[in-house]
Symmetry: C2
Subunit: 514 residues, 2 copies
């Protein structure tokens, strides 16, 4: 994640090969590491190979060894940055998880103890999860994830090890509902047999609200409004999976915060995850990685980036509502550039959280404070510190030389989009591409789509290694080749000097395995 | 606006023919009216005709008299509701405004006195505005607007009289910039001659930020970060117009609030406005009216509705940030239905402002409070009170029998979308349709597009009355005909019992007149 955290923080990055940095949490350096620095487990690299992969001059592109296979013949490739950090701060994870069914009738209060384990969950043990198994009683979940770290690799490595377990845990809570296609998710769980909820009439139950505000503290008030009928909102199975992914991100973030009291967990990371479950792909994104589907050569965006510019109105609204979060040093207003003292009383362009357009205002003393959002494009920053506004970790990250925390401007909540995989026919060249910002900074959606389509068209359709080769080709196109004055790609444009990680996931296998 | 405000408020609606209700502001009834109830000025109705138009049994459809013409041969039709309120709470306005150029060099501090008039602006007098004039030195602006009132007609009538003047005032502030196509809007206005900003090199000025936080209170701090270069953000002419419309809505709302201390201004209203300026159409919307463009039979949505459901996350976020706004009587969480006391400790579906999906949580005492957002579809309410979440007025509106104000959950800020009219060729059947929710509650975008296309295809293309006839046809299709059991439309569906107002604006005239 190039230039994402201001260089003052990046300067702490030296000498972390042995253990990960703690640039944003000086006191953490005395604590043991939660997880050591590594490369994705599925690459199966030796410690020597891991060390060699961090060559900032050669920038070798790593791909799966021929003996390794990812589910659905997924392709993967990665390359380290050109020197902005000692280590590759991207991390990746790919798993097939099997959720075990609980005994029948277990939806109800007796399941509470299980969920209590969530926030201190160290790994997948004891969760009823088993990998690489299948059974008709069980629910199989495919999972791919990319994490792009900053200011250290601790949060990214930890999230790559644990986020899928949090997702599985939340899904297991609703697994019986998900496994019963005709079951409308019950509004309230009870110890009644589950088939009590199966009758069609329960799908829209008229509920008589005895009083519009009956439980709001004024029962029996003399002016009770007339009674009215309300329907019960019907919740879909899909929205239970979306809710599970959303809450798993929050739990992952809370676990990082909690474990920082006893472990050295440096920095923060973005997270882009794909969950394949019951015929749907769920893409959850918190950060500036990106995923697109390429189907018959057409691009379907499956995520949107969260940056100071794309999230301006949320950030300004938060600052306006809770001005103490700005520590009296920042203004929530946006200006096209920094306001100078000599401009007091003059009229300058601005916009606030309510505006997408611009207008002029008279400059006052308060407007001389540093703007909450500042800079353009890849150089845009929130609180002059960070260029991404969603992600995990960063609990200790503060504005340089101040006591102003970047959270809660930096939020851990993902946006989740759904793709109905089983409802479409897919050919061998229809794929889901996931990439960290190192890819998308230099290649557009259209360029990626054309490159992948062109590459796959020239491969043997039965060669399961073709997606790995296509991923390698993409990383090569984004990194470029080393010329006299740096890394160059097509049309003599600058190549990406950032860490680059890419999955290419063929979609036709999804239909076959669900 | 049928069932938009709870019936307890609607009950105050009787006997307002003489003067407008004050359902939400009892003390206002002693004050003089700001404006009397009326129908749109361009209809040119006599007092007798206005009285006859309020026949809830016959529900006559009003159209332009043959002697009247709106700009661009715009069609308009309206009908009153079926009895839910004594008066037609919709209002409309259509104007051609001419903004006069100021003397050269007047951009700068010397213009400040003019803007001070804004918030108490009683009408268009003295603003340099003239109607139905044109000159090469001036800027012509076409304006169409619909206002859908609730709990009285005061705010809707006032907004229909004044909002365009607020828009014109804001546009006049930036008129010289708008009239100079090559001029990049200056970041800071000064007394320098305006052509100082015309050189191309000013479009992206590298500004040396002396210190990242130099003016943030710690000048000369020992750890001053390294100096960096930032570009100056370039602001477009379009975004100045968007900002002008956004701020005009805020000023209109502030004027209603201020004038309520001396006038009886009842209720609130939605606002949907179209501004045609310099080859662009700007559509500003605050509420649940809707506009679509029909071009070659295809639908282009030009607005989105603001309702408790569409704005759930903004409303929940606001309540979470400022819980005192809920008066300890509401919870910011959403549940599929009201939680009952006997469900304490059980697990129920919920979602908070971070979630688009649903999950289960254990019910606690706080969850028994009434939900901030409640109900589905047209019955959804914020604070159990109102079914629309953007609009003007309503400053006195409170939760029934409480001291909880609906503002700021109800926001006056519009969303503004732009359509580049001059960049497209338009035929005689390409139109912009504006309608209050009475239209869209019973007819889909597609049904409206098909009805309009079908109607216009059967008209003489040279008959300038065709758009009025098409508007009348649309209102007829939405109102239906009176059968034994009420108003019925095609396929024996229920017709709209709400007030219905429709503009049909042909787009080909836009190209010709700009």
């Amino acid at each position: 994640m190039l230039t994402r955290v201001k260089s003052a923080v990046a300067n702490f990055m030296g000498g972390v090969m042995a253990g990960g940095s703690n640039g944003d949490h000086p006191s953490g350096s005395d604590l043991p590491l939660k997880f050591p620095y590594t490369r994705p487990e599925f690459l199966g690299l030796s410690p020597d190979e891991i060390e060699c992969s961090a060559d900032h001059i050669a920038r070798p592109i790593l791909i799966l060894k021929e003996t390794k296979r990812l589910p659905w013949s997924t392709g993967y490739a990665e390359v380290i940055n050109a020197g902005k950090s000692t280590l590759n701060e991207d991390q990746a994870c790919c798993e097939v998880l099997v959720l075990k069914r609980r005994p029948a009738g277990s939806i109800g209060p007796n399941r509470a103890p299980m969920t209590r384990r969530r926030s201190s969950l160290p790994n997948g043990e004891g969760l009823g999860l088993q990998e690489n198994l299948d059974s008709s009683e069980d629910l199989t979940l495919h999972y791919w994830a990319l994490f792009d770290g900053h200011a250290g690799s601790g949060a990214a490595v930890m999230a790559s090890r644990l986020l899928h377990h949090h997702i599985a845990l939340h899904l297991q809570e609703v697994m019986e509902i998900l496994c019963t296609p005709d079951l409308v998710p019950p509004t309230c769980l009870s110890e009644e047999p589950i088939n009590h909820h199966l009758t069609p009439s329960s799908q829209r139950v008229l509920t008589r609200a005895a009083s519009l505000r009956g439980a709001a503290g004024a029962p029996g008030s003399p002016s009770t409004p007339p009674t009215r009928f309300f329907t019960e909102k019907k919740v879909s199975h899909e929205s239970l999976v979306i809710g599970a992914i959303e809450n798993a991100f929050k739990d992952m973030d809370a676990q990082i915060e909690k474990d920082k009291s006893v472990y050295n967990i440096s920095g923060g990371c973005t997270a882009l995850v794909v969950v394949n479950l019951l015929g749907n792909l769920y893409v959850g994104n918190a950060g500036d990685s990106r995923s697109i589907i390429i189907r018959s050569g057409e691009v379907i965006p499956m995520s949107a980036e969260f940056t100071p510019e794309s999230e301006r109105q949320r950030l300004q609204f938060l600052a306006y509502m809770q001005p103490h979060l700005l520590g009296n040093e920042f203004t929530h207003l946006e200006f096209p550039r920094r306001v100078q003292r000599k401009e007091l009383g003059k009229r300058m362009l601005y916009r606030d959280f309510t505006m997408s357009g611009w207008a002029y205002k008279s400059i006052e003393e308060d407007d001389l404070k540093f703007p909450l959002i500042y800079g353009e494009g890849k150089k845009a920053r929130v609180l002059a510190t960070i260029g991404v506004t969603r992600g995990l970790g960063d609990h200790s990250l503060k504005v340089h030389d101040s006591n102003i925390y970047i959270k809660p401007f930096l939020s851990c909540c993902p946006e989740v989009r759904v793709y109905r995989l089983a409802q479409c026919e897919h050919g061998a060249d229809d794929v889901l591409v996931l990439g960290t910002d190192g890819l998308w900074d230099v290649l557009s959606n259209q360029e990626v789509a054309e490159a992948v389509a062109c590459f796959l068209a020239n491969c043997d359709p039965d060669d399961q290694h073709r997606y790995t080769m296509a991923a390698q080709d993409l990383v090569m196109r984004a990194r470029g080749v080393l010329k006299d004055r740096g890394w160059r790609i097509s049309n003599d444009r600058l190549g990406s000097g950032d860490d680059i990680s890419v999955y290419i996931i063929p979609l036709m296998y999804g239909n076959k395995q669900n």
